[in-house]
């Protein structure tokens, strides 16, 4: 499975890589911002995206909105420190399949992936 991790923080991308369950068999790609994520989604085969919300320039909301408007159905799990209920509702309205709080454990992530039928 080709997995794209989108976060402006290198540390955050490392933290997420570390908790990806081995059973996912992920071939991990990274993007350091929303624009790069959209370019990669457009030009490469991506099966699952982990998306941060708070990023400079093109943020996670804009990525989801762009994909939704383009009719591109890409399984996306939002991984964010912004845990406001309204933020969680907004990303679901924009098509995200799940919302998880930074920083999560491998067990928590495995549970989310199982719930989404991805593991």
């Amino acid at each position: 499975m080709r997995v794209l991790i989108v976060d402006d923080s290198r540390t955050a991308r490392m933290m997420l890589r570390k908790v990806l369950p081995p059973a996912l068999g992920a071939d991990v790609l990274e993007a350091g911002g929303g624009s790069e994520a959209l370019r990669r989604v457009e030009t490469e085969q991506i099966d699952l995206m982990f998306l941060d919300l708070t990023m400079p320039e093109v943020d996670g909301y804009q990525v989801l909105k762009t994909l939704k408007e383009a009719g591109r159905a890409l399984p996306t799990i939002v991984v964010s420190a912004d845990i406001q209920p309204l933020a969680q509702q907004r990303v679901r309205d924009l098509g995200a399949m799940a919302f998880v709080k930074k920083s999560l454990s491998q067990t928590d992530l495995a549970s989310v992936l199982q719930g989404a039928g991805l593991l």
């Binding site: 402006d8 923080s9 955050a12 933290m15 570390k18 990023m55 420190a81 406001q84 930074k102």
Partner: protein, 206 residues
């Protein structure tokens, strides 16, 4: 201060740690204020303290009056935090509180101190916790307006000439009410944080 500490990777890590702490603060503020809180990406800068007042006069912060609250912290890491509010006029605070009439001076100050306490606690506490440092806070106190804040951030020469500035901006959606957090760390504390982040990154890479 030795500027070779807090390398780019360590700043990135500290920024992410602050980001996680501020996420919790944003949720707490949203609950208190009944509004969606827009959070900006935190910025980490090492600056000459004499230049810090310029941070109070940049971009969108260059116009209008501000209200400043300070809150010292101590323990494993020691420093001062400054919370700046823009849009804290009585009428706007009345709107935030859901009051028809302008709040009393005491109510205004209480609200600003409470908000500062929540945000600074999440920001500084958010830094300390993953780095396994224990921090205590003095009560927040009103500092005053822009001139008072500028005089404060120039600071005591005994605190060192350079400061680590952790800059976090937030605003309320559809309302003119913004906040900025500045955190100043003592040089020994900065060394402790540098060491702690080093360990944090090593654990992440192992």
């Amino acid at each position: 201060m030795n500027t070779t500490i807090l390398s780019e990777d360590k700043r990135d890590a500290l920024q992410e740690i602050v980001n996680i702490g501020m996420g919790a603060a944003g949720a707490a503020l949203a609950e208190v204020l009944g509004a969606f809180v827009e959070l900006a990406v935190p910025r980490i800068d090492v600056v000459d303290r004499r230049r810090v007042p310029l941070l109070l006069d940049t971009g969108a912060w260059s116009d209008g009056e501000i209200e400043a609250v300070r809150q010292p912290f101590f323990g494993g890491i020691i420093g001062e935090s400054l919370m700046l509010f823009d849009g804290a006029e009585p009428a706007r605070l009345a709107d935030l509180l859901g009051h028809a009439a302008a709040p009393t001076v005491e109510e205004q100050q209480e609200l600003l101190l409470d908000l500062a306490n929540v945000v600074i606690g999440a920001c500084v506490g958010g830094i300390a916790e993953p780095l396994e440092e224990v921090v205590s806070f003095a009560p927040p106190s009103r500092l005053g307006g822009r001139p008072d804040a500028s005089a404060f951030v120039v600071g005591d020469p005994e605190q060192g000439r350079e400061a680590l500035v952790i800059n976090v901006d937030f605003k309320l959606e559809e309302r003119r009410f913004r906040g900025r957090v500045l955190v100043f760390l003592s040089e020994p504390s900065l060394v402790r944080i540098d060491d702690a982040i080093h360990r944090f990154l090593n654990a992440l890479a192992s």
